[in-house]
Symmetry: C2
Subunit: 612 residues, 2 copies
Amino acid sequence: MSSCSNSSFSSDFKESLPLISQAIQDASFVSIDCEMTGDSLLTSFLCLIQSGFESHWMDTPEDRYNKLRQGAMPFNVIQFGLCTFNKKEDSKQYSVHAFNFYIFPRPVNSDATDVRFTCQSSSIDFLINHNFDFNKCFKEGISYMNCDEELHVTKKLEQRHAEAAARDAQRLLSPSRSLHNDLKPGQKQYMQDLRIKITNFVKSSNESLSLDPANAFLRKLTYNLLHGKYPNQIHVQTKTNEKHQQYLLLQKISSKTDVENIEKMRRNSQLGEVQDAVGFAKVIQLLRESEKLIIGHNMLLDLLHMVDKFCAVLPQSYEEFKLLASSVFPQIIDTKVMATLPPLNDIISSSNLSDLLSTVKESPFSSPEIEWADNMDAYGSASSHEHEAAYDAFSTGVCFISMAQYLASKSAENTDDILAHLKPFLNKVNVMRMQDIPFINLDAPDLTPCKNHVFHVTFPSEWKSNDLYQLFFPYGGVQISWVDGTSAFVSLVKKDQASEVLKNLASCTTCRVLKYSEYKAAISDSAAQASKRKMPSSDVDLPKKRRKSSDNNGTSPFNTERSIPTIIEEDEEENRGTAGDQDKEVEEIVENSDAQPKDAKLFEENDSWEQE
Amino acid sequence: MSSCSNSSFSSDFKESLPLISQAIQDASFVSIDCEMTGDSLLTSFLCLIQSGFESHWMDTPEDRYNKLRQGAMPFNVIQFGLCTFNKKEDSKQYSVHAFNFYIFPRPVNSDATDVRFTCQSSSIDFLINHNFDFNKCFKEGISYMNCDEELHVTKKLEQRHAEAAARDAQRLLSPSRSLHNDLKPGQKQYMQDLRIKITNFVKSSNESLSLDPANAFLRKLTYNLLHGKYPNQIHVQTKTNEKHQQYLLLQKISSKTDVENIEKMRRNSQLGEVQDAVGFAKVIQLLRESEKLIIGHNMLLDLLHMVDKFCAVLPQSYEEFKLLASSVFPQIIDTKVMATLPPLNDIISSSNLSDLLSTVKESPFSSPEIEWADNMDAYGSASSHEHEAAYDAFSTGVCFISMAQYLASKSAENTDDILAHLKPFLNKVNVMRMQDIPFINLDAPDLTPCKNHVFHVTFPSEWKSNDLYQLFFPYGGVQISWVDGTSAFVSLVKKDQASEVLKNLASCTTCRVLKYSEYKAAISDSAAQASKRKMPSSDVDLPKKRRKSSDNNGTSPFNTERSIPTIIEEDEEENRGTAGDQDKEVEEIVENSDAQPKDAKLFEENDSWEQE
């Protein structure tokens, strides 16, 4: 298929919802993929250099969550791929629906947030080179808002209508001077013509009159005129025409009920507009309600965006996020976790999605039999759709089935339950480039690997990687993870050398070597101290409404575009556009890559390979 | 014309530069217009509500500069319109070139900033509804970078080549363990095939060999193999093919000179790439060098972006900005300033660009005679191109000529010098919605209007606008400018009532009333105190390289998209999409609009008219 093309269009979206709902209901599982306006994929290494040498090897899952929450959520999801896989009874065949949604959060009304989102040039460049249609996305993309926003907008709307009703009951006149003083000639002429027009309308048998589009000031004059001269005869409301111009609609009224009816219709139509603006979030809601197994590939960013954009703004606390995510999506499996953990990691050499798809097409794997539902065009074997969200979701589903079938074939247990052999992978989400922690556990505590072989080293700013390598040379190879220009984490390849290091380097005069645990305890102490000291003047937790923009002076949240903060690539493999690459492989050669920030060139294209 | 379409394409841009340069050289003046990914135009009033009631009436020019620098610069310029107007000798005719550039800052290499920019949904929606072609912009847009960035990238490039030369002279081997341990079966096969391929290449008469695209790890293995086995026989470099995949190019070498030549060619080609990436900034450079008179309409944001995106990052200091801007563009005129100052403000009722264009087409104005250069398609009278940058630049130029001709006709002095009657408008740039300060003076001190009739009032949080109106009712009408939920500036309509207010309200028990000057002195005192206290721990002025991302914890610069900070609309009139509206008119009715944040609804569509 090339997407269920109908569902790409806003106008047809509402009509497609029942089909989507049915497909989800019938599914044995669904697979998903997001395309975003940025994922910092190509800049992680650059960031490492630009943002103060920071790297991420030593992140805890909580560190990583916070970095992604702050660093990646400003990007927007602009395409969402959803594939439903329905296993036919007594058959190995799957019936598949694939939906490719272009989505774009349009502001529905003046109460709704006029969403600002960040774009990363490299991501935009990547998408346009993979035939992403931005014009279609921005013009026809289905709108969306999360539940927080829906609640806010609905509440505001109800409030406005209550106020309008109160105002109609007892008209409040403003204490302003008359607007009719100092009118310019053109405006005087406009008002003169308007008076005639309205007098004719009142005399006529017409029930309503649409005035020509006019600017705010002229509309305000008109409102004043009508309220002064025809207080109980004409109801006025501002409308927007198809050219996005605002005009006034005048309606004759003869009773209070007339007004109430007009207002009621207006309220219902506005509530309908809000529901239209909730738009694509309804699909995610269907997914939530179905509690179906959701498959993604390297899906941490997808998951964060799905929660943030369509459900609720991500909580500050990592633990709260885990609770929220597992309550929203209680069953998920990440195919990258399957491919990189035992037993499959032994026979899968690259967990990059396109490599994985090639791998599972050959022995010992077997491809699933796919039947496309409802005369959809099938995705053939061609990969020209690569990085279209629905194609990537489909590929993910195919990889999932092939790996699951293989695991089932190796098992003694014979069952039709797709999850039977997949328990070890359930609710684990892959994380990239974190030492010793390959995944986060959504519904269980995370791994806390021993870090006795890791040290925090503080040294003179002149030091480069080579100085650190030489310092630790007697203890075997090390992996360096820069913190800033004068400190780094150093991780021993030979873990048993840790006590030797402590014995010999504790008294080092040019540098200071701390055990990882000592360092973490020290910074958590000083953070606690700092937050105690800062409490009275900090406004971080004040409600938005009271936060003044002057708080931003000199440290504008928008003043950072050209000093990229450190963000982790997580989205879609290390290798967009080239063939395979893996965490493990990158780890193997990280000794060199980490040397980069300090300009110790050990490999001609160090940073280009690290960036992929 | 519908743009000098050739110049829209990156590929043709270089060829068009001489034509553009000639057109600028020949011009009597040029007009410009930018389209951006956001201007907060439609949200200013919303911001006022969302960001803490802040409003901008009492801004000083410095306040405004800082708000725009921080709030609007994260948006990107994606289309630039340039029109050159060449007045023919002994004729009233102008020969016009119009250029419409789609521009997009692509990262040229790994040293260049991967630009992140903010988009505002409403602006994107507005542009797509005015036929902006985002696909063309992102795919074919001319790249750009400012001088700061160009310098940085060039320096980095030279540094890399110096390092490479040093490395070639004395090959540094990495202290890493062998990468060939633990290869997976697929990787082992790859290396085996590679060895055969290279052996055949060495034996053959071919001078070079392009390997197939491969991932970073395999390329790293290949580098190691070649350096180990053919250290002085084969030169290796990483190349990128048209599919954005990376591959290795092997070249046979027989002498040191061979290597030097290859490296020299590589260096030159890379420097050429940087120059291509400077791209559109070269047009602005031509404009700077020409020192021609530059015309814009309501051009403050355009000017800020032109400096920031194509010249140098905007300085923190407003005074420094004024110096920089006047040195870069020594002669500019803003047609909105011309239309809103005496003597023209008497006969121009709306200074909105499309209204202004209509006005100057009729008596007492006369339209200029336009001759389109070089067989360009002329913009007819249709406004279907409205908000295409070149069309808006053209309209601005036409308004300028008409107004200038009118002023000349009223003058006793008879001269052909276009600037003779325009001195009062030179280097003044319009600012929106600032009380008593309609423009900033780029090359002279700004106005400092008397604020004796303005008071800062602090009051209980339950207060709404009506409470303030009632408080000041005895002294005539007031204009309210909210600072936050418990304070506001209040400006008397009857300025002579100021002493009465002070006499009667100084002892008010429910609220505190301060003279504007007292309030400003108090906050500037407390700001000075605060900055003294904060100095040691502040990192605002630390160089970027030393700034750790941990500084962002909890207050991420990217975590603000859904809590919009206050930004002023400035770009393109109050009224995109509807007809006319003016500062002055809005000021006249501001008593009501300011009531909005406190929910005192005095006019049914208060916020919609304010938002335009």
